[in-house]
Amino acid sequence: MYAQALDQPEGHRECASADGAALEARFLSRVASEQKVEPKDWMPERYRRTLIRQISQHAHSEIVGMLPEGNWITRAPSLKRKAILMAKVQDEGGHGAYLYAAAETLGAAREDLIEQLLSGAAKYSSIFNYPTPTWADVGAIGWLVDGAAIMNQIPLCRCSYGPYARAMVRICKEESFHQRQGFEIMLTLARGTPEQRRMAQEALNRWWWPSLMMFGPGDADSKHTADSVRWKIKRFTNDELRQKFVDFTVPQAQFLGLKVPDPELRLDEASGHYRFGAIDWAEFNEVLRGNGPCNRERLAARREAHESGRWVREAAAAYAEKQRARTSAAAA
């Protein structure tokens, strides 16, 4: 999920030998003709690094993304909702697992990637640094955040790197219920008691702008997508996807009878697009820098789980080692 906002430029270029240039030319023509790149194929080092970074950030986002919604599993208001939410949060964990596995085909070890997340060196989608104070936030996340994520992810199913593309196909299939369950929660609240309607409206107010930020900086400020586009990792610009999201979502909000928190929002009859107000990129950058409302809590929760699970992982490894020793002793 959520990879679009995260693609950052790679700092340096490799020095291209004559050989390297020929290989790279061949690589580019294969990619241009929509052939998939597989793990053992030759690929430019920058392509590999860009992918490892994007896929692992994507994986981290899934894992951290379990937390804000996981916060409501024990308090879900009905048993049906509890089952749906458990399955949904579990799916996000599964997505993380698929994506880490895809990154590992590029030579990155999951252990190291997780270490980078826990040390704060790696990024994950900023959206999960916002809190879920009410049940309506669970609805808003499914509706808006998963909705935005799906919009980002569908093009990734055609990404040039085979393992990533295949992971995304699986993920997109699984995502399809996430947005619906979120919308259903919002719809139930919107048709519910005055308190429930207020809850729904406040959640929309909280999640609307962060959801728009999920698509990443505007195209004018996002100069570093050229490589990703050429490599067929990225197929639409941030602004294109953001506009599509707004066009899809505003009518849904209207259907719910909720007000999108943007006084400048209006339908441009000529183009058929909704025009929306300016995004507060200062806030986006602050959250990205670690100063969002929940950055510290999210990382602390991941670290806590990792640390308190260490003895369990050690035990499993020790047991497997003993088993191996027993097997070889028996064979000897």
Partner: protein, 273 residues
């Protein structure tokens, strides 16, 4: 342990033994509610692990078990509500009862603790639920038999999971062995209740609705011992004090668990979610 009690297997494969009519609905409602609450409370507890497990794959594994148990709880609650005949659905029963009205076995409500506590609680319950559901498959109550037939398959996998982990932890490092043995010791006193029959269970066993609890002890112990032997863990001595969650006698943790679980339904009475 209740080995002193005779293993009275009241039910046969055909369910022919017992009274000619099913036990009174009220009795069956109470009995089904016990089964429901046990599955529900464990599901609620396992749900709290999702996102906090020792490894990503365990988040998924525990979530799968939680979902199975929640599914069992819902089917059983719905049925209990029907038998009770007071118009209470699964949510009314789950969210609007007091702690003292919950009749899960005490083992189910023991806190998650660390991973060893959780997988040990699961092992002790799984081994029991397999025996229980296998017996209930032959219940003269057809609906209960169908629910049990579904649940027993799920539970066999749960035992595979919990047993696998108890073995790895028990026979892992010195630290994991110690933690797992401690967990067994802590949870052991709550296992006696599983096999101690009360009048309700006696009556339903006689009617061919449910097994006599004592009849499940031998199978449970055999399953357990198989795992514990491989895990190099020792069975604790019988406990002197006995808890009876199934009669609504709970210790302190359940109140907190329910306060958390029920908060929205309690705060917004009558709202639909």
């Amino acid at each position: 342990m209740s080995e002193a009690l005779p293993a009275q297997a009241q039910m046969t494969a055909g369910g022919a033994i017992g009274a000619s009519s099913l036990a009174p609905d009220a009795d069956r409602a109470k009995y089904v509610l016990r089964l429901a609450d046990t599955s529900l409370i464990v599901a609620q507890q396992l749900g709290a692990w999702i996102g906090q497990a020792p490894a990503l794959e365990e988040d998924l594994g525990l979530a799968n078990i939680a979902l199975d148990l929640l599914g069992q709880g819902r089917l059983l609650l719905a049925y209990a509500g029907e038998l009770e005949g007071r118009g209470r659905d699964e949510d009314a029963l789950a969210f609007l009862r007091e702690p003292s009205e919950f009749v899960n076995v005490s083992l189910a409500e023991q806190p998650n603790g660390d991973f060893a506590d959780t997988v040990m609680r699961q092992l002790l319950l799984d081994a029991w639920q397999i025996e229980l559901f296998e017996a209930l498959e032959r219940s003269r109550d057809e609906r209960l038999g169908q629910i049990a037939a579904k649940a027993v398959k799920e539970t066999r996998y749960h035992l595979r999971y919990s047993g696998g982990w108890v073995v790895r932890l028990g026979d892992g490092t010195a630290e994991s062995h110690e933690r797992t043995q401690q967990a067994l010791q802590r949870l052991w006193p709550y296992t006696a209740e599983l096999f101690d029959a009360d009048p309700l269970e006696e009556a339903l066993a006689a009617a061919g609705i449910g097994p006599h609890p004592a009849a499940l002890a031998a199978g449970w112990r055999a399953r357990l011992q198989e795992v514990l032997a491989e895990a190099t863990l020792i069975l604790p001595p019988p406990a002197s004090f006995r808890w009876y969650g199934k009669r609504g006698e709970h210790n302190e943790h359940l109140g907190h668990l329910l306060a958390e679980m029920q908060i929205l339904q309690r705060t917004y009475p009558g709202a639909k979610w």
